[in-house]
Structures are given as C-alpha cells and as structure tokens.
C-alpha cells in the first residue's frame, strides 16, 4: 500500500486543451478526411455524368443516320418494290393456309375415315389441282418483283459505293492530299435515270394486277367443297381471307401510283420507325430495319413470366418468414433465399440450357398436359425458360425488400389486431400486408428493374429469335423464342462497326433501357416515400 500524499501537495490539474494541429499540405486531419470522402462522392458523380453523356452522345446521332437509311430506301426504289413484295407475300401466306388445310384433311381422312394414304391423296386430287392453280396465279407478279429487286439492289449498291468514295475523298482532302483526292472519281447517282426501269413497269404491273384480280375472282368462285365436312368452316374462312386480300389491291395500286422518290423522309419517321418498327433486321442485302418493338416485347414477356413466378414466391416467403416462422426457421430460410443471388447469372444460364429447357420440353410432351397452351413446346429455349430463371433471380430481391417492408410495419398494429380478437391469418391479411403493401409493391418494382436489366440469362436461354411472337396462339406465345433488349446489345455490340448506324442503334437500345430502369426505380422510391408518411 502506498501512502497518500497530503492533500495540500496535489497540484491543480492542468487545463491543457490547446494542442498543435497536425497538418498535411496545409490541411488539418479533419479537412483531409473531409476531402477524401468528398472526393469519393465527387468521382461517383463525375463517372455517372460521363456515362450518361457518352450514352446520349453516341445514341443521339442514330436518328439522323436512320433518316438517311430510310431516305436511301426510298430513293433507290426499294420502298416501291416492297409495296409489290408485300402483295406477293400476302399471297404466299394464303397458299400456306391452303397447304395446312390439306394436311388436316389428310389426317382426317387417314385417321378418322381409315383410308390408306394413297386413297386419301386420290380423294384430294381435285383440291390439289385447285391449290396448284392458286399458287401459280401469282407467277407473273413474283417474276416482276424478282427482276425489280435486282434493279433496286443495284441502285442501292451504286449509291453506297458512291458514299464510300465521297468519304474517302473527304478524308484525303482533310489530310491535305489534294491531288489524290481529285483522282477519286465520284459519279453522282442520277436516281431519275436509274429508277427508269422500275417506274417503267407501271403499266405492266397494272396489266398483271388486272389479270390477278380476274384469276382470283374465278378461283374464289370455283373453290371446291371441303374434302371432309369438318373442314368446311375452314374453307369458308379461307374464302373470306381471299376476298380481303383482293380488297387490298386498289390501295396497293394507289400507293404505287402516288410513290415519288423525291419526297423527303421527315425526321419523326426516323423516330417512329425505331420506336414502332416491328423488325430488327441487320446486315441484310436488301434493307436494314431497326425497330425496337420485337426486343421490347421480348423483354416484357420474359419479365412478365419472371414476375408471375417471383411475386407469389418472394412475397409469400417474406410473409412466412416475417410473420409465421419460428426464429430457428428464420435463421435457416433467410440465408437460403439470399444465397440464390450468389449464383453468377451465367451459371443459371447454362443450368437453363442444360436442365430447365430440356425438362420443360420433355414435360410438354406428356400426353395429359396437352391442354396447356403452347404444349408441346417446339423450341427448348424460349421466353418461358428464360422467364423462369429470371424469376429465380428476382426472388431474393423481392423477398428481402418485402420482408423489410413487413418488418417496418409497427408491432403495435399487430398487437392491436390480436387484442381485438383477430386470428393470425386475419392479422396478416387485413393489417400487416395492407400496411406493408406499398413497400411490397416497390419491392416488386425493384425486382422488375433487376429482371429487365439482366443480360446473361436471357442471352443464353431466351432463344434469341428476333421476331414478335405469334400472339394469335394466346399464351402459347410464351413458349416461343424471343430476343431481348439487353441480349441484343450484348450479342451484337462486339461485331458492329464503330460509329455505324447499327452501333448507334444499339446505343439507343441502351438509352431505352436506361430510361426504363430509371422510371421503375423512381416509381419504387416514390411509393416507398408515400408509405413512410402514411405510417408516420
């Protein structure tokens, strides 16, 4: 034990609160920390600004180029030829309808009436004659379209070569090599003269069309009765279609007569051709089209399937974990669901190709499941396969956020409900879920954002066919292959010419996605904010 010093000897405690401050480059430690964190935030803002700027700079030029693209389409006469081609293609579709009718008739005759195949074919001889005549009728028009296609392609090629030469000359001039630039010979394309062979066929076309009208009118009258009574309905339907086809003739003629290669393409056409274009066709020998609709529809369908699966599963699991599960179950289930998001999406993608796609297809061949729309599935990779996997990806997002939303519902609401004699189910459905509803909705929206932006899974599993699925099959459209906005960018960006129209078109897809995600997130936040106020 030490002896305590006498109280009088204790010096007064020093009040040394003044300290020399550390300083680096004239900044105190506090200021350094401030600069460090401020700098981090600043970099994030600058990077965001740069990305946005780059996206818009590259994308915005697309519309000018697309307008040019459409102008050439008109000037080189491709548009003119396409009017006729559409007439021809509509006929081809009708012919296909006839052949399908025949196939059904064969099935009917051999399976129901137990005829041999030879007998059935004999029974159908009259029908075949008719179908053959129907098919041949378009012959002259088909020939004309083929000829004109060549002419128009030639004009377009000439124009493209010219453009390239002009660009070359421009580059030489800029490099100061005047003599060499003079040597590059550019022949301006005289569209008037080049188009003469096409426009010269106007009379011939009208002649052909008159013959076609007469032929179809007779064909319509001479339509043989259906080979089997059951198909009579189809035959009647076919007749209606042919009549409708005939009715389009005058408008086609009017289009051709009014067509003028000098008419300028308005700028809004460049926008509307993009936003409402139903074709995304690149590197084509005829004409490139950049229409976002098939991609947008593909993305929407895949997301719809994903949400259809992920909403019940994610929200249901959230309700269970938050309201019903015991603490031990919670400790098990929560990490499990959150673990799903640990899978790299490419792994899920090849799981989709190797397992899910195959499983869905073999399931679709089971006899007693044939009542389901779209079964049996023709393509292994389709919107449904991709959507199922995306649903899996969206589940952790929806689950976690919905669980948070339910967690935020004040405990007192629940207690009040129980105290009034509510059962657990009543408390969940009438109090907890409604009170957390806006949080749940925003969880779903953020799940949607996650799904729309997902690339790898759709690239691997959606089938990548750039076409609007055939919605006449109803829900069966969902088992057709689709392509998506994210998928197309990932797939094509590596192969395009920098600065070309295709390159820029992909950028516009990127901008489209950007706005879509932005909108979804904005909406989700808005809903959450309203929710916070309401609980207060």
């Amino acid at each position: 034990m030490t002896t305590e010093p006498p109280a009088a000897a204790v010096p007064p405690p020093s009040f040394a609160i003044v300290k020399r401050r550390l300083s680096f480059f004239g900044l105190t430690l506090d200021e350094c920390i401030q600069v460090f964190f401020g700098g981090n935030a600043f970099v994030a803002v600058v990077v965001l600004a740069l990305i946005t700027y780059f996206l818009f700079r590259e994308g915005s030029q697309f519309f000018g180029q697309n307008r040019q693209n459409l102008t050439v389409y008109r000037q080189a006469g491709l548009e003119y030829v396409d009017f006729m081609r559409r007439q021809e293609q509509a006929h081809t579709a009708l012919t296909r309808g006839l052949f399908e009718l025949r196939m059904r008739a064969v099935v009917d005759l051999t399976e129901r009436q137990k005829l041999s195949l030879a007998d059935a074919n004999q029974r159908l001889a009259g029908f075949d004659d008719y179908a053959g005549r129907f098919d041949d009728a378009i012959g002259p028009l088909r020939g004309m379209v083929a000829d004109l296609t060549e002419v128009a392609t030639a004009i377009k090629t000439k124009f493209t070569i010219n453009e390239d030469k002009m660009e070359e000359r421009q580059q030489l001039l800029e490099a100061g090599r005047v003599a060499e630039s003079e040597a590059v010979k550019v022949e301006a394309v005289d569209f008037e003269r080049e188009l003469a062979p096409i426009l010269g066929t106007k009379e011939a076309y009208l002649e052909i069309n008159r013959a076609l009208k007469a032929e179809f009118a007779t064909l319509l009258q001479r339509m043989p009765p259906a080979p089997t009574p059951a198909l009579q309905v189809e035959v009647e339907r076919f007749k209606v279609k042919v009549q409708a086809y005939l009715d389009t003739f005058p408008s086609i003629e009017a289009n051709l007569a009014a067509w003028d290669y000098r008419r300028p393409v308005p700028l809004w056409k460049a926008f509307s051709a993009y936003l409402f274009g139903r074709q995304w066709l690149t590197a084509s020998f005829w004409q490139d089209w950049y229409g976002v609709v098939p991609l947008f529809v593909g993305s929407l369908m895949v997301s719809a399937v994903a949400l259809f699966l992920a909403i019940p599963l994610g929200v249901g699991a959230a309700v269970y974990v938050n309201q019903i599960a015991s603490a031990r179950e919670q400790r098990f289930i929560k990490p499990c669901i959150e673990f799903i998001s640990a899978f790299p999406s490419v792994v899920l993608g090849f799981f989709g190709i190797a397992v899910l796609g195959e499983a869905l297809r073999s399931m679709s061949q089971v006899t007693w499941l044939q009542w389901l729309p779209g079964f049996p599935i023709a393509e292994r990779l389709n919107a449904l396969t991709a959507g199922c996997l995306l649903g899996l990806i969206a589940i952790p997002t929806i689950f976690t956020l919905a669980e948070d939303a339910l967690q935020n519902v004040p405990r007192s609401f629940k207690e009040a409900s129980y105290a009034l004699g509510a059962t657990r189910l009543q408390t969940i459905t009438r109090i907890v879920v409604p009170a957390g509803l806006s949080g749940i909705i925003s969880a779903v929206l953020l799940g949607l954002g996650r799904v729309i932006g997902e690339t790898m899974v759709v690239l691997l599993c959606a089938g990548n066919r750039i076409a609007i699925p055939d919605f006449t099959e109803g829900l069966g459209a969902f088992v057709q292959p689709v392509h998506t906005m994210t998928g197309i960018v990932a797939q094509e960006m590596g192969e395009v010419v920098r600065g070309g129209i295709h390159y820029r078109a992909l950028f516009v897809v990127g901008i489209f996605l950007f706005f879509l995600s932005l909108g979804i997130n904005f909406l989700a936040q808005k809903i959450v904010r309203r929710y916070r106020i309401s609980v207060g």
């Binding site: 207690e415 009040a416 129980y418 105290a419 004699g421 309401s534 609980v535």
Partner: protein, 278 residues
C-alpha cells in the same frame, strides 16, 4: 382484502374525501389471480402473484419500471403468447372461474372478452370508421346498419363522436394524440368486451388529453371492469378504486386506493407513493 365502497367509486377522483373507507360494500371478484409465476425465457418476471380484481371497478397497477405490472396485465388476455419463450411457471388466472391458461381455451374468444388499450395509441392506417368496425368485421358482421350503429355508439362511448362525426372516413392517423387514444378505446369497446386492460394509456398524452381519457375511464367503469397500468400516481389516485403496488416482480400491497395512498401498510409502498423512490 378490504373492498372499496360505493361512495368511494362515485367520488374517487377526489382522494381527499374523508368518508372513503367507512361504508364497505363487497364487489364480486371477476379476475382471480392465484400464485402466478411468469417467465421470460430464463428470467422470472413475476413471483407468486395473488390478486382478486373486482367486477366493474377500476384497478390500478403501479410500481417502478420493470416491476412486472405490464407483464401481469398482458397475462390477462394472453398477449404474452405472442412473445417467444414466455411461459406461466405456476399458478392460475381465472376469469369468472374459468382458467384462461387451460389447454382448450380459445384465445381469440378470450381476447374478444378482454380488450386492450396500449401505451402508444395505435390506430390502424385505415379510416376512423374502419378502425372501429375492424373487430366486428373479423367476426363476420357485414350489415351496414349494424356497423353504423356500433360506430356511433362506440364513439359516443369514448367521448369522441362530436369531434369526428363529420370525418368518419378520414384516416385515423390524422387525429391528435389524445383523439387517437380515445379512438383506440372506442375500437376496443366496439367488440363489447367485459374487461378493458389499459397499459399506461396516457403516458404519451398532454395533460388536457389525459384529463379527457381519465374522465372517460370514470364513465366506462359503469359498464366495464378496467385494469389500468400507470406510472402516474396522481392518475392512479384519481381514477382507481383499488391499487396494487408491485416491486421487483412481487405484489407488495393491494388495497383500496385510499388506503394505499393515505395509509399504506408496507413501508416500501409508503416510500414509493410519497415519491422517495421509483
């Protein structure tokens, strides 16, 4: 146990009234708690509580924080069932002779009979009308006329009708704190319980709102048996007929409110009510 008098009940907000203890009339027991032990997991929160709550009177539970008064209150309608790991160690609670912790008791039915008002007013994020009809709708009542009638009756019963009758379909969250608490009381009486448990109903309210709720308690006790937990000793003195003082999970003293405040038997009670600790 001595019983409060009729006259005490009518004038109990004047604790100084001199004739409080003299005229005794026995009120029948409604809730009979016997030797109750209660555990939160490994911790024992209540030790051998025995208490008889009289019918149609106000019984107050007082005591310092953590003394178990709220726990006991929540045992009375089995709200503690919602908390994991809670259990009754020994003893029983009987309401009208029925043990409410018996195996085949329907807890839902129990809670319809024993309503509860919470410390923090907690109206649902719904309209005033829906808040009040919630309990009835749970029971499947759909008749609009009956619901309208109950809404008016309950709001009048909670002395809120005149303030909200023009905005029944506005959100319950738009009311002031005191109005919200009275809305919660109205919601509770809408299901016509026999007993109303109040867990510090005025602790979040200003003095004026508190006065209104206390006034309401006086009216309610004509029809309902009320058990109220409070931190506010003046409130216990003003509102209640009987008072139980708890300390560290044990019932220290239970007697007529007048006795507890004027002439407590136990020195701990005396120290607490006179403000020397707690």
């Amino acid at each position: 146990m001595d019983s409060p008098t009729k006259s005490l009940r009518s004038v109990s907000h004047h604790p100084a009234s001199p004739d409080g203890k003299s005229t005794a009339a026995v009120a029948p027991t409604l809730i009979d708690i016997e030797n109750l032990d209660f555990h939160y997991g490994a911790t024992q929160a209540l030790h051998g509580i025995s208490l008889k709550v009289p019918d149609r009177q106000v019984t107050a539970f007082i005591g310092p924080s953590g003394c178990g008064k709220s726990t006991l209150l929540r045992c009375l309608n089995r709200m503690n069932d919602l908390i994991d790991g809670t259990r009754i160690g020994a003893g029983s609670i009987k309401i009208r002779g029925v043990d409410i912790y018996q195996r085949d008791v329907d807890v839902i039915e129990l809670r319809k009979r024993v309503g509860m008002v919470f410390q923090k007013s907690n109206p649902f994020p719904k309209s005033i009308y829906e808040n009040i009809t919630y309990g009835l709708r749970l029971q499947g009542v759909k008749d609009k006329g009956r619901l309208d009638e109950v809404v008016e009756k309950s709001l009048r019963g909670a002395a809120l009708w005149d303030e909200v009758k023009d905005r029944l379909h506005a959100s319950g969250l738009g009311l002031s704190g005191g109005q919200q608490q009275r809305l919660c009381i109205a919601r509770t009486i809408a299901v016509e319980p026999e007993i109303i448990l109040m867990d510090e109903p005025c602790s979040a309210l200003d003095p004026i709102a508190t006065a209104k709720v206390e006034e309401l308690i006086h009216e309610l006790k004509l029809k309902y048996t009320i058990v109220i937990v409070t931190h506010n000793m003046q409130q216990a003195a003003r509102c209640s007929d009987k008072t139980a003082f708890f300390y560290l999970g044990k019932l220290v003293e239970f007697a007529a409110t007048r006795t507890i405040f004027m002439n407590p038997e136990n020195p701990q009670t005396e120290a607490y009510v006179s403000g020397r600790f707690g």
